[in-house]
Amino acid sequence: MNRSLIWGAAGVLLVGMPFVYGAPYPMHIIITILIWSFAYTSWSMMGRFGLVSLGHGGFMGVGAYATALLWNNLGLSPWLGIPIGLVCAALLALVVAWPCFRFRITGHYFALVTLALSGIVLQVITATRDLTGGSLGYTPNRVPGGSSFWAFQFTDKHTWYMIALIVWGAGLAIWYAVERSMLRYALEAISEDEDAAAAAGVNVTLEKLKITVLSAMMTAMAGAMYCQYQMFVSPDTVSGISVSLQMVFAVVVGGLYVALGPTIGAVITILLGETLRISFGPAAVGWDNLIYGLLLVVFIIFLPKGILGSIMGAFKRAPAKAAA
């Protein structure tokens, strides 16, 4: 009961926040944080079970570009385009992941196959420059007036805040749904020992496929959200190896095994980047990534559970010790 009270209060605070304080710049930062938090949560759905994918940049690119291309070329509303993008990402995930799991490609090898996947998506977007604008990026056509429900384009930051909040909340809900499901137990068993899990009657390939497809679709959704909010995508910002590594980094810093870990990771990385950019201006180019990289190494060596994971671990341990 106590717990649901806290969640309720947090929900009311988050929904009510823009009515109390809604200056455009902080709103923009918060929306960005929410969208990226959702993307990072999607990655952590797989990552927490030891399925380290470096291909999520690819799924994000598919979601973003499919939605924008369908809108510009066929006039198809994002309300239909986004689901199509999600299906495309799911199919892509199936095509790559099924053989991977079937032939038991795990660990390093899995990371490298998925790395090739994000490379493919990046190169295909760059190569089809007549259609996608290549490395110069791509802009969905603006509707006259700027805002339209049908076109999923809104100029108002408050609307975007609510959309991003809903999507982010849905991401957390999916995280908790998985946490409570049999899927979680099956995947935890698989990540400990595949043979033992298979012997215990777990369909290893199927269970891994489920979480991969789910994670890929969520990542594609994040890509579509990013594209509709920014109204601009380029291969470097939504696909490729850097984006994949950025996801891994934020999740590891925030905490891989806790629901809000990826969100904390997004808050830390985006605020760090913005603070450096504001205080040092153009001279800050490179410094944010310099600090990220250093932090990533330090975290993996000293705090592999991430910031939130370690704090929560400390809280959980303290009462247990007191009881004993």
């Binding site: 180019v285 490179g286 410094w287 993996i300």
Partner: protein, 289 residues
Amino acid sequence: MGFLDIFLVEALINGLLLGGVLALLALGLNLIFGVIDVAWICYAELVMFGMYAMYYFVSVFGISLWFAVPATIIAIGLMGILLHVLVISPLLGAAPINQLLATGGVLFFLQSLATVAFGIDFRNLGIRLPTLEVAEVFISYARLLAFGAALSGMVALYLFLTRTYVGTAIRAISQDREIMALMGVDTRRIYIITSAVGGSLAGLAACLLVLQYDVHPYVGLSFGPITFMICVMGGLGNMVGGFIAAFIFAEIISLGGLYLDLEWGYVFAFVFFIGMMFIRPEGLLSRRS
């Protein structure tokens, strides 16, 4: 020449020479993979620093190439040792994926360090080696040189691994890392030597690459992933497999570039890599168990 038109021949030869460069890049990474069982995701960034070292030695300080090349090789070898001591050795007992991610952090770090220290301008040595013309086919000397260096580098590494005491210990460790410590081999020392050799090979590759390509902080991203895939496709730690894989990749890229676009060449190479992973997950030369 019938169906073998001149562009096809040129693309095939250039692919062969590109394969030499890729093989050299893969060589050092493969050694680290095979011996320490750690994937240096940031390997291409070490090469990038080597390219900058060459640029500063030759173009800024005006040091002769004969000193700049050994100095670069030694400097990157030292970087390899530093990477091992600071990042890899605390993580030797950790999950392999943590090691992969930590070197991913190093990748970010080195890239941004280069951005901060050297700026984002494209730089080159200002030396352009002439091209060789044989029967209307143009071959660049820089690529020929890289090809030769890759071959001799591989032979030298082979001799080092088979003919010296340290080399034998390195090979033994790659077969069984627990037992060798009991046999009185100092594992730490061998790992550091391996990292130094791996780094030096990155330095050598850098010296040759800087003759063909401009250096900028993100140059590593353009050949890093390819290098990794070559190592995996050849079988991690299998140097001959890596060598063959490098040439297959290079031909695919080169022919794809001839008929469509360079990007499509890369796409085909990546698709081929994924396909091969399913057919031969242990590498090209493996026998199915």
